[in-house]
Every structure is written in C-alpha cells, then in structure tokens.
Symmetry: C2
Subunit: 442 residues, 2 copies
C-alpha cells in the first residue's frame, strides 16, 4: 500500500442545490453532508450487465430462508406482546447475553450489562462519536479507513488524522508519533478507530504482536480504542486473533454486528463499552431513536438459540473463501505489471494499488462503460489521498462473475497504462463527497 | 394550564458517576446526558400491583397477531433476498408510496421522493436537529412539550424556548412575539416544533383557525415548522384537522409514525420534507445508521397492502375512547377541588394542573407507595416549570385499572392538600435529567 500519514481534513464540496431556501439555515455539521457525483455511476453499475466489485453487500442468498421464516412467525406468535412493543434503549437483555457468547469466540469476557444493541454497528459508531467528539477534536484512523466512519466523524466536525498502515495492519510507531506530536501541540485526541480484522477497505489484519503494541501505546497516552469488528468471524485461513478488547476491557469500546454473520436486514449491531461510557451511549441512543426494534432483537435472539449459527458461519466462510480465491487468482493472472494488491485472510475486500500515473477515480466512468465497477481509493481517506487505489469486493458476485470482472478491469488498466505512456499521465478527477455506492447497491 | 412563556435552558445535572476515567473526555453535548433519579421510581412502578398512568406504550395486545405472524413469514419467504439485505438510507420506495397514502387522510398531497423512512419518528427528530442546529441556535417548542424532543434538542445544544399554549393549542400571538423579540436580539431560530394533535403531554389540539395563523406567522418570519403527528389518526370525537403540512408544503417538515397505528416494535416512522432538506436528511441518516431495516419496512408495507388497516385504526379508537372516558369520568368524580385537567379528543394523554402549593415531582414517591404512577410535569419543560403538573396516560391500562389508579391518585392529592394546609407548602423536588419512564415501561 502507498499510504501517507499526512493529516488533512475532509473538505466540504459545493452545496449542489442552487434553489434551496434553507441553504443559510443548516448547521455547520451539515455543510459536509453532500452526495458525491460518483454515486450516480454506482446506480448505473447496479445494472445486471455490469459486474460490480464495488459494494459491501453480503450474499444473503445463502441464508436458510425457511428457518428464518419460521423464526419470525414464532416470535410474533409466542412473544408478540413484547416483540411488538417499545423496548429499552439499551436493548433486549436476552440478546445482550447471547452477544457476550458470540464475543467470547474472540477471547472477550464481558457482562451483558455493558452491551448496548444498536441499529447496525454504524449507529454504535455514531453514538460513540456523538458522546465524545466536539468540533475540532482529533480522531485517529487507519489510512485508509471505512468510508462511513469518516462521514460520521466529519459530521461531528472531528479532525480526522490518518495513521500509516501496511500489510500487518496499522504501524504502531506511526501511531505513537502522532500521539506524541498531537499532545505536544495541545490537541485533544478522543479515540483511535481501528478495524483490526480484514480491514475495510484494505483487507489487512493487525498482527498479534502489533495488537499488544497498539494497546500499550494507547494506554500510555490515556487514549480510548474504538475497535470495529464486523468481519472477525469471517476468516478463510490462518488463526483467529484475540480481540483488542479481550486484553484491555477498560480502554476499548468494541463494536460488533450481525450484518455479515446473519443478515443486514435486521440492522442489529452492538457496542461493548466500559460501564460509564455505556451509560452515556444508552442516553444518546434514547435521544437518537427511543429504542431499537424489539421484534428484530428477538428474531436474532431466537435465531442464535435455535439455529446452528456457528455451522452457518462455517458455510458462509466456505462460500466467501471460494470468491476470495477467484479474485486473487484472477488478479494474479491478469493484472498488468506494476499493479499490487493485498491478500486478505477473511472479510470482503482486496485493496489494489495501481501503477504510477493512473487515477482510479478518473478511470471509473471508463470502467463502468466496460461493465465493471469498483470503489476508488479516494473515498477511504479524509484527505485527497488514495488516487492510485481501488477497493475490490468479492462478497456479492459469484466466482465466475468475479473472474469476468477482473478480466474487464485488467483491460481498462491496460488501455489506461497505454494512455499514460503516450501522454505522461491520465486525467484526475475532483474529490469531495461520498465516493462509494449507497448501502443498497451491490 | 398554567404556562409561562419564559425561556430558560436545560441545565445539566451532576455527572453521577464518580469514578469514570473518561469524565474529562466527553463532548460538551454529552454533559447533559444524565439519567434522572425519578427513573428508578418508574422501574418500581412497573410492578403489577402499581397502576401506571405514566408510560406512553400503546396497547399492542389489540393487534391481530395471527395476521402479523403470517405477514412476517411471507416477507421472508417471498421477498427474503431483498428484505434481508441492506436498503437505501432513504427507505423502501414502495413503503414511501404507502406513507403518502396514509398522510393523504390528513389532507397532505406529497411525493414519495420527499419521504424518508426513519427509526420511529424519534430518529426523524434527531436527524432534523442534526441537520439544522448549531450550539446556541434557538428551537421553539410548545409549553409543555414532548420530553424526548427536549432531550434531542438539548443533545445538539439548542436553546429551547417554550411558547405559551392553552386548551386550543399554541398561542399564535405568543409565537409571533417570541419571533419578533428573538429576531431583534439577533438570535438564529431554526424551527418551531409542534405536536398539533392531542399533544404530548398536554392532550390539546391546535384549532383550524390557529393553524392558519401559525403558518402565516412562521412564513412571515421565514421559519420552518416541524410538525410531529404521531397521534393524528387516533381521534375519538370531533372532526379531523388538516395537517399543517397540507397547507404549507415548502415550510413544514412533517413527522409521522406507525408506532401508535400499528406497532412500535418495528420502529417505522418517517419525515416528509422539502426536497433539499430531505436530501440532507438522507445523508445524515446514512451516517447515523447506514440504512433502516428493509425487513421491517417490507412487513409494514405488506401489512398496509393486505390488512384492512383503516378498520384496524377504528378498532383501536374504540378501545382508546373507552379508556379516555374512564379517565375523564374518574377525574371528574374523584379529584379534589382546585385540580384542573385537559379533555383530549384523541391520543393518549391528559394534563393535570394541581392545586396551588402542591409539587407533582415531590409527590411521586408517595404516589408510587400508594401504587399509582404518573409523570411529573417538570419533565416536559427545558426549564424548571411544570411542578404543579402531571401527565396521565390512558393508553395502556384497562378502564378498570384507570379508575382505580385515579382513585389512588385522588387519595394522595387529598393527603397532600391536607399537608399543605397544615405547613403552608409541601416539599419540592430537585430538577434535572429525564423525569419520564424509559420507553419500555408502562
């Protein structure tokens, strides 16, 4: 990866809407809420003739629909009076116990009292940011990092500082240097946001040795770690790592999700936090949505208690491993010289670095007209980095579609390389807005 | 009602947690996120021997559970691949069309393009506040108003200004005076938040004549109206009013919900907003939760298309009318002299004003030990008003329980009055925090 630890802030793009009578009324935090022009392309990319390597949608067609149909009906029939009523803002106590069981697979020993159920782990991210971040506070993130986390931090006017990452995850020395420098500058750093397993978008995993170092560094600087782990159980090779939270219960807020191990359609994620923080998150959740769907929580709870969910995840992992292998094989066979990529042991994503002089964002319209889509790397930085990068997803298309998509992409890269060799460089695209597909696009 | 239009800000109470290592790290907006001590009382009040007139839980036991069980199973069986996948942040297009049909019952002519589906209308409130409110901006509210709206505005550090209300709803002249005064003071007022039908907590409805005046005043001051209408279709007598939105599509953001007309368990609410505002709300929703549950949206959509939902609401209204009548009858028969109350034509709540010298919050522990609970009026003000008030709910208990609850309450009031006559006044309780039950308590 070519990763530059420079710190820059997300720039708001132009308002777009010229006749909005409320343009002078929006909050400062809303100025950066603008849709990217790239998004229109992704809508085109959802057409059936396009192979989309862009989205992060899990392959829910592998779900046991008959069992789930029975479960949802049973919840209404047997627990309807509770399931169809308001719940608490913290979430269903039974489900919170089961969540602790799920987390124990990654070495976490937690009490259900310290868990809050959220609308996907995205809402947990939002609540944590809302509780901790004042305008101008610093949030540290990996470089690159999850795009919607960037949007959430930016929505609360954080200064996002990227920390260098390589194939072993975030670089501990870079983290330490940033923290020392920011402390010297009197800056308030609120937390370090990390996706330690099969990172989105980079696909890399933080090594066990680095996990220890990261925890030491954060502890010595008195810094909270925000550990986002939606893909941890989707491992296709190698040995599982202990969660950061497993070894630092007082210094880590852990975020989990059933969106990838079951279904994103129920929107059940969670945060595990030190008790005082959890209390704040619950109050924030109440003002954000009163309570989450009791029904959905009971459905997930009943799924966990009646369905062999560990076996189900193994089946998912077989399926996703085959897709990952299809992608890595095709990249190896077809990519032009000078192109490099990561080799994820799990999760959904491969991060590609293009040959010098190519611009992944500028190239996207040409790729879409060649019937293949990806996400340009720029979307995963709060700065204007990532132009030579793209994120490729292997979660949704079939292995054959993946091979065909990579073949088309290789063709685009070859003609771009030819252009570069003729003209010195290819055009570059403007930055700003959210350069990723909306959540409902493959 | 004794309503004072003074403006005061919500005061944060003490942190409560003395050993929280993150106490210095929270955002300014989180300082006010504190749980009220009154909440512990409501947990006691949920015991079966207590008649709770406190909560706002609808009576979901009246729902057609068998039909709903079939609907949820059909959604999984017939639409599983879509229902269990991520959706768009704006919400399911089919449901948004159906929401327009529901709103047409109150005179609204809207396009599904301008609707966003939210996690209850509470999330819509949160998103609107997030998009419009900078710290120190003014939000105008009725006096009293919905407690969780106050919490949400306070969480975004708004200055909450209450506008006087009487039995015909908000007083237009008071609204005009506030706006004129605030403009002269150079204050930024972001919107006027109103619950025009069967207001929570006051139970009053804004008259047709005042609706026109409120719209005129807001239009002349260039102010947005935030119309929150969760109870509009739950009318037990009199004629339905047109929604404010029906007559001012460019100046009103309308919030609706299926929590009272179907079930709060699915958490489906919505906002209807002018197009430019709606676009901002969708981006804010994406950063808040990525997308809402597709499954739940399809369940509500299928309910609306396969179940006679208008007839179902008529059945609900029969049931709630009986409960309201039980409460008004018991109040009339049993309340001591000097006590007054509102007479709601719909919704869930009656607002009681106690005799001079009584304090509803200080009295609550005694009431709970007499096995009856209510919400003290203080919870519905951002200031320390409302001490002589209480909100009584008639939605959840049966008519017999309601009569028994009012009988116990009348007993408490009589002994309080005797105390007052002996000592001049009763003790007063400290204010701060959220003086209402959590959403899962009756």
């Amino acid at each position: 990866m070519s990763i530059d630890p420079r710190e820059t802030h997300r720039q708001p793009a132009s308002q777009g809407s010229r006749i909005d009578p409320y343009v002078g009324s929006y909050a400062a935090r809303a100025q950066g809420m603008v849709a990217s022009e790239v998004r229109a392309l992704f809508a085109v990319a959802s057409r059936p003739e396009v192979v989309s390597l862009a989205g992060g949608m899990p392959n829910v067609s592998a779900l046991p629909l008959e069992d789930i149909g029975q479960i949802v009906q049973d919840v209404v029939a047997q627990q309807g009076a509770t399931a169809l009523q308001y719940g608490s803002a913290q979430g269903d106590p039974g489900l919170r116990e089961q969540i602790c069981e799920v987390m124990s697979l990654e070495g976490i020993d937690a009490s259900a009292d310290d868990v809050i159920v959220t609308v996907g782990s995205q809402q947990a991210l939002d609540l944590v940011t809302r509780v901790f971040v004042d305008p101008g506070d610093v949030v540290l993130c990996e470089a690159p990092t999850y795009v919607t986390a960037i949007n959430t931090f930016a929505a609360f006017q954080a200064d996002i500082v990227h920390v260098a990452m390589d194939e072993h995850g975030v670089v501990p020395e870079a983290l330490d240097e940033h923290l020392t420098r920011l402390a010297a500058a009197g800056r308030k750093v609120k937390f370090f946001y990390t996706i330690p397993n099969f990172q989105n978008p980079a696909g890399v995993t933080l090594t066990a040795e680095r996990r220890r170092r990261v925890l030491e560094i954060c502890r010595s600087h008195g810094l909270l770690v925000l550990e986002d782990n939606p893909y941890g159980l989707l491992r296709y090779e190698g040995e599982a790592c202990r969660a950061l939270r497993a070894d630092a219960p007082d210094n880590v807020i852990y975020l989990g999700s059933f969106s990838k191990t079951l279904s994103p359609g129920f929107r059940i994620g969670w945060a595990l936090a030190p008790a005082a923080v959890r209390a704040k998150l619950v109050l924030a959740a109440e003002s954000a949505m009163l309570s989450h769907s009791t029904f959905n929580q009971m459905v997930v709870g009943r799924y966990l208690s009646t369905h062999p969910w560990r076996e189900q995840i193994k089946d998912f992992n077989e399926m996703y491993r085959e897709r990952r292998d299809a992608m890595l094989g095709a990249l190896e066979a077809l990519m032009p010289a000078g192109t490099t990529w990561t080799r994820p042991q799990g999760g959904f994503f491969v991060w590609v670095t293009l040959p010098e002089g190519l611009d992944a964002k500028a190239m996207l319209p040409r790729a879409v007209s060649e019937r293949v889509a990806y996400v340009p790397g720029t979307g995963f930085y709060a700065s204007d980095e990532g132009r030579r990068n793209m994120r490729l997803s292997f979660c949704y298309p079939t292995p054959d579609q993946i091979r065909e998509g990579v073949r088309r992409l290789a063709g685009v890269l070859k003609s771009e390389t030819a252009l570069r060799d003729t003209f010195g460089t290819t055009s570059t695209a403007p930055s700003g807005g959210n350069d990723t597909p909306s959540p409902d696009l493959p």
